[in-house]
Amino acid sequence: MKFTLSWLKDHLETTASLPEILHALTDLGHEVEDVSDPVATLGAFRICQVIEAAPHPNADRLRLCRVATYPDGPEGAMQEVQVVCGAPNARTGLVGVFAPVGTHVPGTGVDLKPGVIRGVESNGMLCSEREMELSDDHDGIIDLPQDAPLGQRFIDYAGLNDPMIYIKITPNRPDALGVHGIARDLAARGLGTLKTAPRATVPGQFPCPISVTIAPELKDKGCPLFAGRLIRGVKNGPSPVWLQKRLRAIGLRPISALVDITNFFTFDQNRPLHVFDADKVQGGLRIHPAKGDETLLALDGKTYALAAGMMVISDDAGPESLAGIMGGEVSGCSDDTVNVFLESAYWDPITTATTGRALKINSDARYRFERGVDPEYTLPGLEAATQMILDLCGGTPSDVVMDGTVPNTTRAYRLDTQRVQSLVGMEIADATQRQTLQALGFTLNGNMASPPSWRPDILGEADLVEEVARIASLENLVGRPLPRPTPGVPRAILTPMQRRERSARRMLAGLGYNECITYSFIDGETSELFGGGSDAVRLENPISSEMTHLRPDLLGGLIQAAVRNQARGAMDLALFEVGPAFDGGEPGEQHMQAAGLLAGAAAGRDPFGSRRMVDLYDAKADAEAVLTAMGAPSRTQIGRGAPAWWHPGRSGQIMLGPKVVLATFGEIHPKILRAMDLKGPAVAFSIFPENVPLPKTRSATRPALSQSGLQAVERDFAFVLDHRVEAQVLVNAAQGADKSLIESVRVFDEFTGPRAEEQMGAGKKSIAITVRLQPQTQTLTDQDIQAVSAQIIAKVTKATGGALRS
């Protein structure tokens, strides 16, 4: 919302300075976004006279001017200044505009300094309009009438001394979309007195020949009240200078007196109006829902197809105006308009908003009606605008025609002054609270406060609290300590899941991964690669084609991040993300993932030759480390059957029992690498923290540590196995040979490939394990060891079909 200071002062009798007004506006909730103050930018430019313009001794095109200046204004002493000027119209006796040394010239961006031009001193500048950024005119310096008062500030002389203020209006305050409403807030704050023009009616001279009717189905909701009148014999044309200046100052283009008047009321009183050229209206005006097959050429020059139900104003020829949004071109006023029909209606906010949104029309009228104009000002607004038309354009007014009634907005809420203080936390006297509400237009009846008709946002006691607090100024708030709910050392607050996420992050960063945050939405194609892309997770209004679906998995985003980094030359990558993946489109159909991606080499090249490419076992080890950090049980199984985006033979799942997947790890499927253009090798893991069971006990006590004093014994075994037998089977079998004695079984060698087959036969490999035996009661004898060894061999050969390697 833009307005000028002088416009505000039409509504507010005040001695407050501009900074005081700006500060109060922001503090009251009307945040000042911008202000342009001509005094600050052009205040130093004063009217002067050239005493003598003589040729410059050293330059043909320059003049040497003796200038009479008045640095202290018209009442102050004259001071003669020498100025070198290049303007063709610089001449003796010219009355112009002078900027003294030290002035910032906005048009050139230069601060004036005393200077010497071609050997002659020059102090200050005779200015053109362009130098003052008033226009593009730079043909010569400003040439004023001889009677222009010497020494006066040019902005005052030219009527430009009117700061423009631009404030942000919160959606609850339609009343502040009129200058009058803003003035009311400032008056309530104590910055002056609100000036309210007396409401007068303009008597009609004849019955209005244009009838108005509201379709019955709209009377309750869409249009409770429609009023208008004909004014015959007006003379349209440019509006007066004061009105044009005002509209220009707030960025509106003056069009004609009739249109400018409607715009004036829109911004002055938050009362949008519409003017029809009555000669172009055929028959009466009907307010009705569109049937759905009409079109309307609107004032913005565009033709709109109307959907059924949109509220329109039609005459016998069809729709002439989009109710509350924009008028039609055909029945609009032009400079030739002689007979004008002035409309003032109360359009329902929701109906207006719905139509406006559907047609994507943003107009000052729609903006106001959808926030809520003052219904009770519908008729007074019509009268005031009639008067202004008569004043500016002449003419003869008809009687007012109307249909419907002013909607009743009467309501009252209890003002609990104690509650106000309790909520706001400031001491505000009862009397002050009541005064505040009255100043804002509330009617008080005992403790019951009735909001004024222009405040549709006041809908309960809490709104009264806000009004009182706002006017009292929240700047006066003093912080009051909030004690902890429980005294002493603060309690732990993280849930187990929150701790897990945190552990996963810190562990992964510790393992050398860089944390990424990628978007929760991803393109449909990538989404499908990772098992997603259904309609349930599709955005209806994506912001780009790369962000159309909620991600089914984190790896898609990580791979895209890796591809971007590879394009920048970073080939060896360890990236991770902890965040939600989406299983469906309903709230809660999401699960947490901690995903990591390794690409390229496990380490950079080094002098020790330790560089090697990442493989599945890197991913597996890191996944297991993270699971351990999150408190997952140490006894897990490794299964297969990872989803389709993993390499079918080179991926596994860390399982708890046959169903619970704690993590998936392995190589990314080569098809995915190709489709997404990631240069491999690339391995990854996806960890599902929510699948990790909660610990059964909440006790901090650890189970007792049993440390046998007896010597542990390690024995190595190598087995020849079929190539596809998994080490896990072997280890489990060995472990089961004697559960009380065998402390651990560890794989320490795998011998596989052509050389192994050469030695052991086609399709064979060898796996070697170390079994650690820890006796509990007595030292192991050779016989003991031999016995358990035999058991191990028997178990393993039975489980794997392999044999001890000789």
Binding site: G425, A492, G510, S520, G585
Partner: protein, 400 residues
């Protein structure tokens, strides 16, 4: 040395007239001669000088071993003479015994010392050869990083946990009831349009309004109160979504919501909490906040909060200067919001606030561009990221 060695020596009794049979002492005099020499101490001194001299001039460990055998071996000269002691007269033995023992000890020590010196010399020589270029890099070890958003979330958690706030969470796909209606933003409220909401696809057969990607973390207020009732104190950090993408906006960003409901909480308490938060978060001794009236449908009264700061040469300083910077929105929870969440607004009241995590991370750590937060450029992640073990804690300092 011999004096010293002989001092505590106790001569064992040895039979008189024991015969020493010698066959190996080579260069030396016969034992008998030596024994006679023992008797006159001059001979013993010669023996000593000879062996000590030999030890000193031995070239290597093998030479030393030869000398040891020649002197102290089973058939060494000193050993043989000691065997003869028994045949001596007691009075002779009393002088010869200690002298011989002293000699034996001295030779022993000399041999060991010489051997140690040789080993030292050999080690020294080897170490001189064992030279590595210590300026070569160590074996590479990858150092990971924590994203600034995660780090700042941990900082927020540390600060608010100390004030008794727990961390609440909610789904990112929300029904429009939780995202809007429950927060007093009815269907046609202009504020709804200002949210630039992402909608999920809705099948034509499904009559419900489409779900949304939550446009703010405020719906977590409702869920937390529904689950826990009052009194309650929670913060809710997380991802939020708005259809906006330009220099300073990304369609996804992070907010933290704060909510405190109790019997008599006021805006003055809210101001204190925010002051304490800003002081702790920006790690300055003093902050000044300015509350400005504003409007949010879910709070009443509502306030935008500015913080006093200065910008000098692109450097932000919090707590000083003449500028005010808007950092968050806040207010007293609207009674309709409490009622929607099942909390009786006649009995309970409290405040809520919300601020942008990405934004305060940018302010605190001088990160210039929001969009880079989600681009995962390794150079950015390493430069603005945090070390794994830099877990923010209040006693340890949040960022130091």
């Amino acid at each position: 040395m011999p004096d010293c060695l002989a001092r505590d020596f106790l001569m064992p009794d040895a039979p008189m007239g024991a015969v020493l049979l010698l066959d190996n002492t080579g260069s030396c005099d016969s034992p008998l001669t030596q024994l006679q020499q023992v008797a006159d101490m001059q001979g013993l001194d010669d023996l000593r000088l000879r062996f000590i001299g030999a030890v000193a001039s031995a070239a290597d460990e093998a030479a030393l071993e030869e000398i040891r055998l020649a002197a102290l071996g089973k058939k060494g000269e000193v050993s043989l003479m000691m065997r003869e002691l028994g045949r001596m007269a007691p009075e002779e033995r009393q002088t010869a015994g200690p002298a011989l023992n002293a000699l034996k000890d001295e030779l022993d020590a000399a041999l060991r010392a010489r051997k140690a010196a040789m080993a030292d010399a050999a080690l020294h020589e080897r170490l001189q050869a064992e030279w590595l270029d210590v300026s070569l890099p160590g074996r590479p070890r990858r150092m990971g990083t924590i994203h600034p958003v995660s780090q700042v979330m941990d900082e927020l958690t540390a600060i608010f946990a100390d004030m008794g706030f727990a961390v609440a969470e909610g789904p990112q796909v929300e029904s429009d009831w939780f995202n809007f209606d429950a927060l007093n933003i009815p269907a046609e409220h202009p504020a709804r349009q200002e949210h630039d909401t992402f909608f999920l696809h809705r099948d034509a057969a499904d009559p419900r309004p489409p779900h949304v990607l939550r446009t703010h973390t405020s719906p977590v207020q409702i869920r937390a109160m529904q689950a826990q009732g009052a009194p309650i104190r929670v913060i809710a950090p997380g991802r939020v979504y708005r259809m906006d993408m330009d220099q300073t906006h990304t369609p996804m960003f992070h907010q933290v919501e704060g909510l405190a409901i109790d019997r008599d909480l006021s805006m003055a308490n809210l101001k204190w909490v925010l002051e304490e938060f800003c002081r702790a978060f920006f790690e300055v001794d003093h902050v000044e906040l300015r509350f400005r009236a504003s409007h949010f449908p879910f709070t009443e009264p509502s306030a935008e909060v500015d913080i006093r700061c200065s910008w000098q040469g692109g450097q932000l300083k919090i707590g000083e200067g003449d500028s005010w910077m808007e950092i968050l929105g806040s207010g007293m929870v609207h009674p309709k919001v409490l009622a929607a969440a099942g909390v009786d607004p006649d009995k309970w009241q409290g405040f809520a606030f919300g601020l942008g995590i990405d934004r305060i991370a940018m302010l605190k750590y001088g990160i210039p561009d929001l969009r880079a937060f989600f681009e995962s450029d390794l150079r950015w992640l390493k430069h603005y990221g945090f070390a794994a073990l830099d877990m923010p804690t209040l006693p340890g300092g949040l960022s130091r």
